[in-house]
């Protein structure tokens, strides 16, 4: 019954889903620009120590707050350090910490959300009220509370960011799961007698993954902002390690006379966040997810 049209169907076969999604993302201007920005930033973060023109610690008393010139392309800061060097190295900590914390946040928030969406009942009722309560608090308050309690440093920041940024993921994963749980193939799996874990793994996970991927990209950009804000406030990276947030904080006193030390880290941070957002947008469109429904936190 199918041999004629089958050839047509077979050519659109399946292992290429990931490839086709990436192609789809790249085919949109927003996806192409976004992905280019993100990849450029990640490569810079990885390899900047190799090709940074100066030592990021090296001070030069003869070139304090000097404007951009042939030697220091982006000028120098109040201690005479090269801003280009510090900017291309300033994202390393932020990208490293958030690149580890984001998958952790999506993993724990996603798993709990899928479970609650499937199980429902009283546990779901209670936990979701707790989630609501957490989301009602300003994030900076929660973060500062953790840092005051456990101190700063990467080993505290990663679990802290992963914990707090996993909470909104619970909502997204639960909502996506509830849409799927109502469908007959989940009912069929229940009727066959599959366990909850097996239903989560086999029926739900693949269908919620799209929403989680887009959500993960969004969480990543929010997390970068949060990390940089903490550095700005002096709770993130400690000097002399170069960091965008720290650089902005240091240079704000000289804004009136020497604005260039602040420009470079601001542009670097914004371009990365814009890149992530553009990629997330294109990814959502390629996967057919309505970003308008996603919660913003």
């Amino acid at each position: 019954m199918s041999d004629g049209p089958a050839t047509l169907v077979a050519t659109t076969a399946r292992p290429s889903r990931i490839v086709s999604v990436i192609c789809e993302v790249l085919s949109r201007p927003s996806g192409f620009i976004g992905l280019f920005l993100v990849i450029a930033h990640v490569l810079l973060a990885l390899f900047s120590p190799i090709f940074a023109p100066f030592d990021f610690k090296a001070m030069n008393a003869n070139a304090i707050l000097s404007p951009p010139d042939a030697t220091h392309w982006l000028g120098t800061d109040q201690l005479g350090r090269d801003i280009l060097t510090r900017t291309i190295m300033g994202g390393r900590q932020a990208i490293l910490v958030t690149a580890i914390a984001t998958p952790l946040a999506v993993a724990w928030g996603g798993l709990l959300g899928i479970y609650l969406g499937l199980a429902g009942g009283r546990l779901d009722d209670i936990l979701m009220r707790v989630v609501d309560a957490f989301l009602a608090l300003p994030w900076i308050l929660k973060m500062l509370l953790m840092i005051v309690t456990f101190g700063t440093g990467v080993s505290v920041l990663i679990p802290t960011l992963a914990f707090f940024y996993g909470i909104p993921v619970i909502r997204i994963a639960r909502a996506a799961t509830q849409n799927i749980v109502a469908r007959d193939f989940v009912l069929a799996a229940r009727a066959r007698g599959h366990s909850r874990v097996s239903i989560m793994r086999k029926e739900l996970f693949g269908n919620v993954l799209d929403a989680l991927m887009v959500e993960g990209a969004m969480r990543w950009s929010w997390m970068l902002l949060a990390f940089t804000s903490l550095s700005f406030l002096g709770f993130g990276v400690s000097p002399p390690t170069p960091d965008w947030g720290l650089m902005i904080a240091d240079s704000r006193n000289f804004m009136a006379i020497a604005p260039w030390p602040a420009f470079a880290p601001v542009i670097a941070l914004s371009s990365l966040i814009i890149g992530i957002n553009l990629t997330a947008d294109a990814l959502a469109k390629a996967l057919g997810i309505d970003r308008a429904q996603a919660a913003v936190h």
């Binding site: 399946r14 007959d184 069929a188 066959r192 007698g193 086999k202």
Partner: protein
């Protein structure tokens, strides 16, 4: 009575640009003139281009479509090249569309009267002062009782049938000369559908409208149309008066379509029409139907037949119209596997009641019982080994709920389900033994919903095989292939995703998954209602083969209304001589693809939201109500013969002798046990 040509489609081809950049035609060289006074039915399976044609008749192309050649004239002017401001005046004013689910397209926050007034103001043919009278007149024209009351209601306060009537009134508001109807009754209950169709054919005559009626349902077309056009793969393959097309069509496809429709009056299984139409752009140089045609010859593959006139009137796109007559249109099909003797009772539903009423948190704390009348109540059915029992009823009659209770997905509020002499079956899936879970399998209505879109067919079939038999690796694959072959699909399907399969193939996979568990009891929930007509027959045929295994397939039938049993008995007895008033109403409304078949409209087409607390469930709609006893007392069980039980207050003698209902059609889709 037919006059000059009003709608004239000339050599129209419409297509879209495919991924490969090639122009793929959806409509190919359509020539169709509709005269004043005609009601034309356009019939075809999904993807045949029938809706595209209907929309082109009002100068509308769906996004991405463009005209390749031809014109679409209305009253002598080409709508496809007309400027949009002029088109606006013609649409609604001269030619109106009633789309599928148009009842749901009413604005929910405006009263019916206000919406009709809006439509009248838009067309601007009347003085403002005449609006109220015209609104009432329109509602009368669609035969709504108490038009003043209806006009002051919001759409959600009306039933589905009433909403559809209001939508028809909206279309009539501009006093158009022509009405285009795109599957206007699909999705409505059988009884409602019959009422709407009666109304439409009445409107065509009484208000003298040209009607173009698009449907996949030959039964619906038979009730309304005087002329029928059959479409296949974007072409008109047959055009003729309703009688000849519906009884002795001159095209092999139309004959296959007729034969594939299950009919109540005929106990044989319908004949399956194998294969599927070529996708757009894929039809070869020859006849588009050649791959599925029983009488095709070599020249059919190389030359595309023209639409040639038939000697008896009408046109056909076939090289061999005189030989097409040899293809049977009715049931040379094989008989369904014989009923007769069955084994031991397998399942017994005793006094089953199911309630969806949930306790709120406050009620839980106060220890209150859930309120409300149960959705399903007092259902007693016994199913024996090897037997097929059909549950019949309108939507909301509790058919699916009962199946879900047996499958353990809904816990009964009362009564019990006894299973296989092992006593009561635990209420929910979690409490059942693995063996019981394996032996009871469920097949759902819509395979798009019941198959995980992210799983390959291999993964889908692996679920029951791993779970119940612990198969893996080579053994699993071998078994999967064997099961696929049982549902007549090849091994190469294993790596596909459901989205790469046709509707019929998907449902076969769903059936294969259920049979993989080697069940003793198979619960089928409207397994064919989401499929095209020609595919339905193939699926029913498959189920019958597999069971050794509804009227297409049922041995016994249980008729349900509002979750209560009305009648249960052998299929032949129930269908040929319905006794319960509700069965009479239901079967009388069934659509028969016979020209001139007229429905027997008995019950009001109202939809009840909840069953009455006391008495007979059918009391509010019954046309043979005895008296107050129907409202106060649960009807007694009356025995009308071997295993034939009727729940009614009317004495058994009167029930069996009163009515004889003529032949019955196909639209009641019984469920298989």
């Amino acid at each position: 009575m037919t006059g000059d040509v009003l709608i004239d489609v000339q050599n129209l081809s419409i297509g879209f640009t495919g991924r490969s950049g090639k122009l793929l035609p959806v409509l190919r060289n359509i020539d169709l003139g509709v005269r004043r006074g005609e009601t034309v039915g356009i019939v075809g399976e999904s993807g045949s281009g029938k809706s595209t044609l209907a929309l082109a008749m009002m100068g509308y192309l769906k996004h991405g479509l463009r005209v390749i050649s031809g014109r679409s004239l209305f009253d002598g002017r080409d709508l496809l090249t007309m400027p949009s401001c002029e088109l606006q005046r013609i649409r609604g004013g001269k030619i109106a569309l009633i789309p599928q689910n148009s009842g749901q397209s009413l604005s929910p926050n405006l009263r019916v009267g206000a919406q009709l007034t809006e439509a009248l103001a838009l067309h601007g043919k009347l003085a403002l002062s005449a609006f109220p009278a015209r609104v009432i007149q329109l509602l009368q024209q669609v035969r709504l009782p108490d038009p003043e009351v209806i006009a002051s209601r919001y759409p959600h306060e009306l039933s589905g049938g009433q909403q559809q009537r209001v939508a028809i009134a909206m279309a009539l508001a501009g006093d158009p000369e022509a009405l285009l109807l795109d599957e206007p009754t699909t999705g409505l209950d059988v009884t409602t559908q019959a009422h709407i169709l009666a109304l439409l054919s009445d409107i065509a005559v009484r208000l003298d409208k040209v009607m173009v009626y698009v449907s996949h349902d030959l039964g619906a077309i038979a009730r309304v149309c005087s002329r029928v056009v059959v479409m296949y793969a974007g072409e008109i393959v047959l055009d003729g008066d309703a009688t000849s097309v519906l009884t002795n069509p001159g095209h092999p496809y139309a004959r296959g379509l007729l034969a594939s429709i299950p009919r109540l009056g005929n106990p044989n299984l319908p004949m399956a029409l194998e294969g599927r139409p070529p996708p757009p752009g894929d039809a070869g140089p020859g006849c588009s139907f050649v791959d599925r045609c029983a009488i095709a010859e070599a020249p059919c593959r190389s030359e595309r037949p023209g639409l040639q006139p038939l000697p008896a009137g009408g046109r056909v796109r076939c090289r061999l119209p005189e030989r097409a007559g040899s293809i049977p249109t009715k049931r040379a099909g094989k008989p369904a596997s014989a009923g007769g003797s069955f084994g031991e009772p397998l399942v017994r539903l005793s006094n089953l009641a199911i309630s969806y009423a949930r306790q709120s948190l406050v009620d839980q704390l106060l220890g209150r019982k859930p309120q409300g009348v149960p959705t399903v109540d007092r259902v007693n059915i016994e199913i024996r080994q090897g037997e097929v029992i059909g549950l019949v009823g309108e939507s909301g009659s509790g058919k699916s709920t009962i199946l879900k209770a047996v499958a353990g997905l809904v816990g009964p509020a009362n009564g019990e389900i006894a299973y296989d002499r092992s006593g009561a079956l635990p209420a929910t899936v979690e409490q059942r033994r693995p063996e019981q879970l394996r032996e009871i399998q469920l097949i759902f209505q819509n395979p798009d919903e019941s198959l995980n879109p992210r799983h390959t067919i291999e993964q889908i079939l692996a679920q029951p095989l791993q779970l119940y038999f612990g198969l893996s690796g080579d053994a699993l694959r071998k078994r999967s292939i064997a099961i696929l072959e049982r549902v007549r699909l090849g091994a190469h399907y294993l790596d596909r995703l459901p989205s790469q399969l046709s509707g019929g193939e998907k449902q076969r996979v769903a059936i294969a998954r259920a049979f993989a568990a080697e069940p003793k009891l198979l619960l089928c929930d409207e397994v064919t209602s989401a499929l095209d007509v020609s595919v339905q027959a193939a699926v029913l045929d498959l189920l019958d083969q597999l069971r050794r295994d509804v009227r297409a397939l049922s041995d016994r039938v249980a008729v349900l209304y509002q979750g209560r049993l009305c009648e249960i008995g052998p299929a032949a007895a129930v269908y040929s001589r319905p006794c319960h008033p509700y069965t009479e109403a239901l079967l009388g409304a069934v659509l028969e693809p016979e020209p001139g078949a007229r429905p027997i409209l008995m019950a009001e087409d109202i939809v009840e939201l909840s069953p009455p607390a006391k008495g007979c469930p059918f009391q509010r709609r019954c046309h043979r109500k005895v008296g107050s006893i129907c409202e106060s007392t649960t009807p007694p069980q009356r025995n009308a013969g071997a295993e034939h039980v009727i729940h009614c207050h009317i004495p058994i003698g009167e029930l069996t002798s009163a009515q004889t209902v003529s032949t019955l059609g196909n639209a009641v889709r019984p469920h298989v046990q």
